[in-house]
Amino acid sequence: MSPAAKLPRWAEFGLLPAVNLLAALLLSGAIIRLIGESPWAALRLMADGAFGSQEAIGYTLFYATSFIFTGLGVAVAYHAGLFNIGAEGQAYIGGLGTGLVCLALGHWPFWAVLPLAVLAGAAGGAAWAFLPAWLQARRGSHIVITTIMFNFIASALMTWLLVNVLIRPGQQSPESREFAPNAFMPGLHTLLGRIGIPFAATPLNLAFLLALAASVLVWLFVWRTRWGYALRVAGINPAAARYAGIRPERVTIGAMLLSGALAGSLGLNELMGSQHRILLDFPGGAGFVGIAVALMGRNHPVGILLASVLFGALVQGGSQLSFDMPHVNRDMVVVIQGLVILFCGALENVFRTPLAALLGRGKPEGSNR
């Protein structure tokens, strides 16, 4: 078989994703046309809803924050050759850790709660990733299967906890009491206001900056430390890893712990930053979007950042669209998101060969790139 066509870097990381995105939008436009709305108006509504105002941008970045955490988690596991489908469950249990710290220590000052909440979130996510990792490393149980199953276990466990244990006394809906205000993640508009920059009040909060910091740390870890080196070797070529004295089993467990810890940080944004309580299904699919984000972002923090903003924009712009266009409902927006995932993830190489041919033809014969 001929290997995948080679593209220059700018085309690989810029042009190809752009073409994929364009294809998804074109098809979405065709569908919107079909149901009798104007695709152009829909696109403008979406773009406006996602980026048209400070408020829109705030919401877009708020959603993006959750995707960055889960996307980084999926990417770290991917570099170790593991496909972690369980970011959703790890985010759920990690959020439980964060939430419990906030419930228990809400009377402490914020700067004391924060580090504990971060640690508890990471620990919860890591713990939920540990068992599948251990089963993979020691028993050979496939991590894709076990992490999917652990999503369901997490879901069942959290339902039981919220219905029977954490529920606020005398209340019907399965959610915990509200955190004390000391355990609220400061909104970004508050922080910006403090240094004299006015910004609209949105759920966008300090967790966004933590997500950016996590991106830098992940980059440093994966590409600039010996552990990251070992992780990549084990992920690409386990035989070479054993030859180099790297134990693939250890890498599997270490990478999954880190992956789970990153996904488990979602609660910092969603719970501490916005909901201020533990409630049913708060990850809301961000763990799965994280897979798409990591795929589309080529498992690199910069790519993940960009892809997260795109998906944040799709969520935020999509809800604006379904609000303003009567024929376009929530499900229609999900279809559009699905098309983006389809073209940017599953079909990402469809345009590779034609693009390579197009770019190749433009060059003089025998030229050496």
Binding site: R224, R232, I236, A239, R242, Y243, A244, G245, R369
Partner: protein, 515 residues
């Protein structure tokens, strides 16, 4: 499937075949004529364009320009099916057989002839029995292929091609997996095919085989044909010079070994693979400073497992491996710990184990040594030190191009291997394990690698060399161990070793008690 009545027309004629892959000019106006009823050798270094050319003939690639004529008739070969229809058969280096099918089922594969198997099977059986009679190609038709020795598997591949009506057989490096005697058998079989009017193209890099088996030879270098001669009118030296483009030393120059203290002792070692099959049954030997001990044997007779057990990549079921007085097995030391004790390892399968193909050269130059203090700085990898270290190795070992940031996969096999060798030798080991040091390496680099190994020996290190190339063992080793079916058949001093004697031992004939 004799299509053309003209018996004098060439079995294959290529005219001006041209093929580019991007910037690489893989075939440059190649013309080649194979006379009917002859064995034609095609030789050249790795990357000379032999495989590309043969893939074009077999319909796997399409030429950018040029014509292909088969028995006087121009053909368009745009798929293997078209090539088969034109009477061309190919035996790949890696067999294309379904291991858990019988011989008969394998031959039938892709030529089932209808939805119901029974008719095709009966026809195939009759046809194969006829072929076996005509060419002396006996194979047990109802045996599962996976249970056959490699030589017979190869015969199945040849039968498969003939069954489909091949008049021209292409064999790609057919002897890589064979013992010398098996190779001789293969060549006798090819001679019989030739006598029946079939033609053969033998793609190889072994000059000895070209001299022994072919009628004419075509030499390729850098995508072009540089010589076509009658085999009788040339010599191995001349062919080697044509291939490389300069004079080469075919043998290694080295003085007598001066063995010192015993560094590595292996006693009663046994290794089973993951399925529980005994790969090494009982191996005992010693390795001393300042000598090269060669392990000869046909591929798959336990040498690989022996090497991996010593390197710490698999756990032996029994026995002792001691290095400088420490028992590596009982202490349970892994590959990393053994490396720290001075045991370096150039693995047999470079691309599977020795390098990470998608990494840069500099990242590969620290594989196994990535946690050395020299490469760390404040908890992070010291990229500058890694780059500089790689650049130093590249210049000392003549790795071309000397670009540490370049992806390792973009280097030729020889240059990859030189970098792996540099990495292991520069770690200043006491014992170096080397598996197939020149597999997939061009002649120019082979010479360099051999000289490095001899120089390492002369500096007082011990080298254990595993190779399926008998010439390499004979050229480098001071003592030779021969393995067959997981056992060491015996030890022969270099001075007493002949190809015949080793060949017999490789085939399982014990000529003397193990030392």
């Amino acid at each position: 499937m004799a299509l053309t009545p003209d018996p004098a027309a060439p079995a294959l004629e290529l005219r001006g075949i041209d093929k580019r892959f991007g910037a690489v000019h893989a075939n440059h106006a190649v013309s080649l004529t194979v006379a009917p009823g002859t064995i034609h050798g095609l030789i050249g270094e790795n990357g000379a364009g032999k495989s590309t050319l043969m893939n074009i003939v077999y319909g796997l690639h399409r030429a950018d320009a040029g014509e292909i004529h088969v028995r006087g008739r121009r053909v368009e070969l745009d798929s293997p099916q078209a090539a088969i229809a034109a009477g061309i058969g190919m035996v790949h280096q890696h067999f294309m057989l379904v291991e858990n099918f019988t011989v008969l089922e394998n031959v039938l594969l892709g030529a089932e002839g209808g939805a119901r198997l029974a008719g095709g099977l009966a026809r195939a059986r009759a046809g194969l029995e006829q072929l076996a009679r005509d060419y002396g190609l006996e194979v047990p038709l109802d045996t599962v292929v996976g249970e056959l020795p490699v030589g017979l598997q190869q015969r199945v591949e040849i039968l498969k091609a003939l069954h489909r009506g091949a008049e021209l057989l292409i064999l790609d490096e057919p002897t890589a997996v064979l013992a010398p005697q098996e190779a001789d058998q293969l060549f006798r079989m090819l001679a019989r095919l030739r006598a029946q009017g079939k033609s053969v193209i033998l793609v190889t890099h072994k000059l000895r085989e070209v001299m022994a088996a072919t009628d004419r030879v075509t030499v390729m270098r850098q995508g072009a044909v540089v010589a076509e001669v009658a085999t009788a009118a040339t010599s191995p030296r001349e062919l080697a010079e044509r291939m490389v483009g300069r004079a080469v030393l075919l043998s290694v120059e080295k003085g007598p070994a001066q063995p010192g203290a015993t560094l590595l002792t292996v006693r009663d070692l046994a290794v089973r693979d993951r399925r529980g099959v005994a790969r090494v049954k009982s191996a005992s030997f010693t390795l001393r400073a300042g000598e090269i001990v060669g392990v000869a044997g046909v591929a798959g007779n336990g040498q690989s497992e022996l090497l991996e057990a010593i390197a710490g990549l698999c756990t032996p079921t029994r026995g002792e491996i001691s290095l400088g007085g420490r028992d590596l097995v009982r202490e349970g030391l892994d590959a990393r710990a053994r490396r720290r004790l001075g045991l370096a390892h150039v693995p047999e399968d470079r691309l599977r184990m020795g390098v990470v193909a998608s990494f840069s050269a500099e990242d590969n130059a620290i594989l196994g040594y990535h946690d050395l203090a020299a490469y760390q700085q404040g908890g992070f990898l010291n990229r500058a030190a890694i780059s500089a270290g790689c650049a130093r190795k590249m210049s000392a070992y003549d790795v071309r191009p000397p670009e540490p940031r370049r992806r390792i996969a973009a280097f030729s096999g020889g240059n990859q291997q030189k970098l792996v060798l540099a990495r292991e030798i520069e770690s200043d080991p006491r014992v170096l394990l080397v598996g197939q040091p020149t597999r997939g390496v061009d002649i120019g680099a082979i010479e360099f690698i051999h000289r490095q190994l001899v120089a390492l020996r002369d500096s007082g290190k011990a080298i254990l060399l595993v190779s399926v190339e008998l010439e390499e063992i004979l050229g480098l080793a001071d003592r030779i161990l021969v393995m067959h079916d997981g056992e060491i058949m015996g030890e022969v001093a270099r001075a007493d070793a002949t190809e015949e004697r080793l060949g017999l031992m490789m085939a399982g004939v014990r000529t003397e008690a193990p030392a």
